[in-house]
Symmetry: D2
Subunit: 320 residues, 4 copies
């Protein structure tokens, strides 16, 4: 209960079980007159799509979206935007044999404990497939920002992937392809760190005292499965410096958010994701990702755009 | 706007400017019949009180609370609980000279940018004094849990304090007193890491998908000033292990929360706080903490109890 | 914005434009384990369906519903329940000629004023077709109550229909069929009063002070198009009596709600609906109801079940 | 639970028991920079004050307010505005003898049923004294509108008072003073009808579909004790007219709200309030109002200003 909504004024309601009829989302609070940009949505969908390359799950989903409401003649109406994606490759029968068998490391048993009656097929609603609703919503958030001439940009890259490190600006560390191809064969899995940069940020976003911008971003990312840590980039390390070093004249550590409010400077965050739980035999048999980070990038971007759209709307209200 | 509330069913509304008339809080959703335990509240207040020892700010506040409503004959009424603490040692005149002068590292200028008209005295509502409302509310959350025979316990300790490390179970690293006494003299400041342990947790707390328990805790801590990172303890480091190592049989990494839901096992989190911004001359002249971590411990505990009370109430609703 | 949701814990999000792809609803907060009863849903749908008899609009909609999520093997999962009804008989072209022509008495022009970009076809989202989402949600609310062994029953009847009066227990006044058949021919329309009875009510429903049960019911009914008044039955007349008469020993006026809270006694309400706006030529040409009251009965029942389900869930939280 | 808040963006949290320490309110979402106008607040307070003339309760309360936060140097800060009124004339001992004795017609017993532990003194939180919080909040809502150059005006008059009728523009029917003076002597009480006019309304207020302006106003008034009916003025009578009469060319019935949205035309509503429950001996002994309507006028105005401030803020969000 109460957990399938995100946002205050730009508000997302997510629904759908992994092997049910459809995944979907209702977006409330998107102003009217926002131009619908199919490219923005399709790019998000393509990047989180399963079966896009050999390193990700082979579940075969075209993820064709259908807009049921809220968009008319290429523009939003200001009414709720409902978008669904019908599940295709559900193979529910595959899951019958493991119906009463909790998969190690998965949420199956704790979910059962909480709800008693559960959809055991492929994790039901605890599946990563739920992030489909998030990227759809995030795409609309991005369209809203663009229509409102807010040019904030969110980019992500994997900075650490198991043993690999990415010191440049590429999206993936060198060697990613090989590491993951081998992992898939061996039933190995990898976690790592994702770096997220927000540039061209409007000042004055974030709401003191409980909804500071950093608090809203942290909950956005921590709500994604497998995330086990969030920091303003370098936070855990930098906090061990003396104050006179940390706050040194001219240095701009964490200048992007002060007092919980955006200053207009860039914001940098790092997210830690654990290795996927499906390993060894389980991983080899099923349709699993050896590393969830690759497909997670658009999800974090989407969550960021949702926070940005929401806080931009709230900003309209601050002064008379 | 929209930022002074925390929680869904056990809901806190915080108010008050640092040098205004009073700080206060309204707590909604605390069930009726909860025994009011002054000791619980006073212990929280004592631990975050200024001027409690030489390492913390010398602002002299007795922090006497007054319960205005919601408690009658020693028990809660189920109606809103309003508690206020009148500000005593406000010395507003001290701030007149710096009225139009943003203090470096503080939120003064960004707050001004956001609200135009601000209370410049001592940070106004961006002051750490606001956490007074949090510990009061957290104390009531704890009382609710106790009355409902939920014996979850939250403990905190400082594991890293600038150069110091605490490997044992003490609240402070060895050498804390000396380090901070010197810091106060020199206008130095320190940040560090706080470890938070939640034991005797009820299973099935946390609401998929956006309000996973870890997401609610992360936003609770990140909403506190100076916090720059939150992780399930060791998260940033552990995520770099191979999946076959991370999920090794018998190991219980992050077993406390699975699928975003509590399992009943202990939950461990680490919080990174930056050194306070008031350094050098500013620090020496004013009334400042050379290290905010000491007084922050009860604040993180309070925020945790708030999340626990809230999720316990939500749990009542899951099944028929 | 902010207007497409109803309820707090049993929460409905409605979407869909009259001539868009589909109408639909997402229901959050329905506990897991509630038995899905197709009869309950289909009975509601049948009673508000267009083209069910000669007195109602001839728009031909089978209103076949599709459950996209939240129900598995005949029971709710505790996850969001999404239900859609694809629009069939949309005849959007009929509306092209009146694209820039506000229909008198309709919301077209004020909607345009508010949102700038609108779906002009058949009223878009301001259409009565939106109540489809309400009856679907109300049916699930009723199923929840039944699964929880709460046997509250809601019944409605039309007590006044233009010149006709219904003093008995029938659903319609004598002469309804003839009056409405003639009205349809002549382009006339009628409003009237609906009486709603709630029996077997649980005591202690309703939340002081702003969410008294009467306040929640009033907003539920007033949110339906064409409603221009709500009273505890006889309220406008009875308030003119002296207090010594009104509160006479033994009399049980408005005993069903006291202090805003249900007592367990029956609750009676009367709702006033105005005549439909489509009259004369407009009415004869298009597909319109000469009297909306007939099809509105299940809508008011549904709204009542939603309030009941919501307040029953809240009731679980009052005491420790 | 969940019942002590009103509004979405201009949001009120009310607290306080009639014979507890204080009544109070926290107002969230009032933009910064709103000029504080003591006259507006004091005028509201004076009109609902007890003991203002012989017809109202003799409880002697100066109702001196204290602003604890959110206002600085004569202007709002954009932070929560907390205002309290300490209770003075509580005479709690008067209530000891009736501690376990439910007063007929009052909410005492049903409140006891709901919360188990209650403050029995003077109705506790079910007392009409709670409306103090409403008028304080309403006054700030009015100040916000004025600061934003929104000149909407709300006026009220008693159109029916028991046997008396007011056909003109005066606030009270002729004979009010005599009727109520006699009622007070005899332990009689009266109810009646209040007419409320909203002029200079901004167009486009109200949020389809569940938060139509009429729905928000209806719940605002129905949340006040003793209210048993709300209509767009004349609604119950007018709905019995034929459509061709009701919608006659040139007539402007209910033009103020169409499709649930304000059009800019005046809005007229009628509210029915029942006679106070304290009659005969009870009324003669205690401190009671023989007619609550007189002191209720500013309460309905305040509730209206709250809805207006809230919907005006929401209006800012509709378009890009």
């Amino acid at each position: 209960m109460l957990g399938n909504e995100f946002g205050h004024l730009f508000k997302v309601t997510s629904f759908g079980e992994s092997h049910g009829k459809a995944m979907g989302v209702v977006i409330q609070g998107c102003p009217s007159g926002v131009e619908f940009l199919p490219d923005v949505l399709e790019s998000f969908l393509a990047r989180r799509r399963p079966n896009q390359n050999p390193w990700v799950t082979s579940r075969n989903e075209a993820d064709n979206y259908e807009i049921l409401s809220g968009v008319f003649e290429g523009k939003t109406l200001g009414t709720p935007i409902a978008v669904v994606v019908y599940n295709q490759d559900t193979r529910s029968k595959d899951y019958d044999k493991i119906k009463n068998q909790a998969r190690p490391g998965h949420a199956d048993d704790v979910w059962k404990l909480k709800y008693s009656h559960v959809d055991h097929r492929g994790g039901g609603r605890s599946s990563g497939r739920e992030t489909l609703s998030r990227v759809i919503a995030g795409a609309f958030a991005k369209m809203y920002l663009q229509s409102a001439n807010i040019n904030t940009e969110v980019t992500t890259k994997i900075t650490k992937l198991g043993p690999l490190e990415n010191k440049g600006n590429d999206t993936f560390p060198e060697g990613t392809k090989q590491l993951l191809t081998e992992a898939k064969e061996q039933g190995e899995s990898y976690g790592g760190h994702i770096h997220l940069n927000i540039s061209n940020v409007s000042p004055a976003l974030g709401e003191p005292v409980f909804k500071k911008l950093k608090a809203q971003l942290a909950t956005a990312y921590m709500s994604v499965g497998a995330v086990v840590g969030v920091e303003l980039t370098g936070g855990f390390k930098n906090t061990l410096k003396k104050g006179t070093e940390f706050h040194k004249q001219g240095e701009v550590i964490y200048q992007g958010i002060r007092g919980g409010i955006s200053t207009g400077e860039n914001i940098n965050l790092t997210i830690a994701m654990k290795p996927t739980s499906s390993i060894l035999d389980t991983a080899k048999q099923g349709r699993h990702d050896p590393c969830i980070l690759v497909r997670a990038l658009p999800v974090f971007e989407a969550m960021t755009y949702l926070v940005l759209a929401d806080t931009e709307l709230i900003k309209k209200l601050n002064n008379i």
